[in-house]
């Protein structure tokens, strides 16, 4: 015999094909009468028993202060820690000696959404966001510049808290 087939010794009642088939058919029929569990996505984005996690790490958002300027002080920690090397930061300094980003760009295609940038930020400026609808018509639209990051309005992610590991 070219192919060896291992035959398990089973009790006879477990290898009755007709009965097993009828049992399976009863099961599928039962499921057919049950309630549907599908959420009609574009119309409904959350249901009573399901919502997107507040810890979801999606596309970024830069927070701004009262004057509408970005909170970023161009310290360089986020490009330093970024494992995907997707943050481009060119720091600048005004007359009063305040540092600010001249260029701040995030390539969302390279980003792995680890959330380290948010964790490391001393000014709580850059955040990953609770957001997942990102389609665009061209690839270069996925490099988000400072203006676009600041204009985002979606809620920001609450990162993992060791004292509340299940996010409750």
């Amino acid at each position: 015999m070219a192919i060896g087939v291992k035959v398990m010794a089973r009790p006879e009642r477990e290898v009755s094909y007709v009965r097993a088939t009828l049992k399976g058919m009863a099961l599928t029929f039962k499921h057919m009468l049950q309630a549907r569990v599908t959420m009609q996505y574009p119309e409904a984005k959350s249901t009573d028993d399901w919502r997107i996690a507040t810890r979801w790490r999606g596309t970024h958002r830069m927070l701004t202060d009262e004057q509408g300027r970005s909170k970023c002080v161009a310290c360089g920690l986020c490009p330093q820690i970024c494992p995907a090397n997707c943050i481009k930061l060119v720091p600048g300094e005004d007359e009063a000696g305040n540092r600010y980003p001249l260029i701040y760009e995030i390539d969302e295609f390279r980003c792995v959404f680890c959330g380290y940038c948010q964790e490391v930020c001393p000014e709580e400026a850059i955040h990953v966001g609770v957001h997942y609808e990102n389609s665009e018509y061209s690839r270069d639209r996925f490099v988000y510049d400072l203006e676009r990051l600041s204009a985002q309005t979606h809620p920001v992610s609450t990162l993992w808290d060791p004292s509340d590991p299940r996010g409750e």
Binding site: V7, A9, E12, R13, S16, T28, H31, M32, V37
Partner: protein, 413 residues
Amino acid sequence: MTPDQKGFLLFAVIKLLVVFSVMLAGVALLTLVERKVAGWMQNRPGPNRVGPFGILQPVADGIKNFIKEETRPASANEFLFLLAPALSFIPAVILIGVIPLAAPLPVDFAADLPLLGLTTFHGMMPMSVADLPIGFIFILAFSSLGVYGIALAGWSSNSKYSLIGGLRAAAQLISYEVAMGLSLIPVLLVSGNASFSAIIARQQQGLWFIMPLFLSFFIFLISGFAETNRLPFDLPEAESELVAGYHSEYSAMKFSLFMIAEYAHIVTVAAMVATLFFGGWDMPFTHWDERGGLLQTVVTGACFFAKTFFWIFFVIWIRWTLPRFRYDQLMALGWKILLPLSLAYIMVVAVAIEIIQASLGWTDPKAQGFALFALNLLLGWAMFFLLDRGRVVRGVAPRTRAASSMSPREGAA
């Protein structure tokens, strides 16, 4: 041409157009039914975006398939590659033409039509496109023609997956064709006629053949699944092993033709089960439907449709319940179980009929039916409780441990 011949031709053409357009529309809707039932059985709603409740989904699919790009493998055999979808499509669709869809309609028609001249039709008009006296044999012959389309599709694509799919289809269809044909011999034995109208008439006098010929029904149903290439017998297109089997290389409308052929086969098998074993258009417990008339034709048509639809649903139901057979299990079931079983059953039924008719002298179809039914209860019990204990689908493995230790490889070690 006489007015009678003209009338016959006219009505034949009308029936042809009606039956085939209803068939093709029904097949299109069947794809939606399949996806809906699949969804429901998995607690999903199924397609529901195109039109109300997704009712226009087949239209969207059809338009998509017509305007899609056709791809053609560079090394395919051009002629056979084009021919194969047609070869599998035509036999599948043609089969519905010989099945009586409703009670015969009494027609009294005489009119002077433009172009045709005087056209008349008098008498009972059978509600099938062609009420062939050999309808039964016609179906067996044409349903096995579909395998040419599939085997050629597999070969002409010049792809190893397609070829394996095509070969599997050929082997499977030929194997189950034998059991299918033989399982229907008892139906012929009891009804004594190969025309569908006569088979239905016999069931109206006696019992529906599901009762006196239960094992035939069982074997026919299983072979029918194999003939339609559906789960649990969909080895010709086993996705997990063969990409899409024989139609891997087909795209757009040619692929669609294979799909239509598959669904048309489902309709035919369901219609055959309904006709051969569930009385066709017959309504149970009443003889009102046999008197003939327009209302009777419409109601029996609905009755036939309901029966057929139940068996279509059954096919879909099985598909979403059972996993696929292993290839050797498939062959073992066909050749080692169904073929001997149907042969033995022919013998048993033939002997039983001889005893009932000649020795006991029961000529009443009902009495014969009940006698055979009693016999079938016994045989059915024997089959399901004695045979179906892990012996039905066994495969190539040795039956016992003792036998396997005799194999030369282990003997050498």
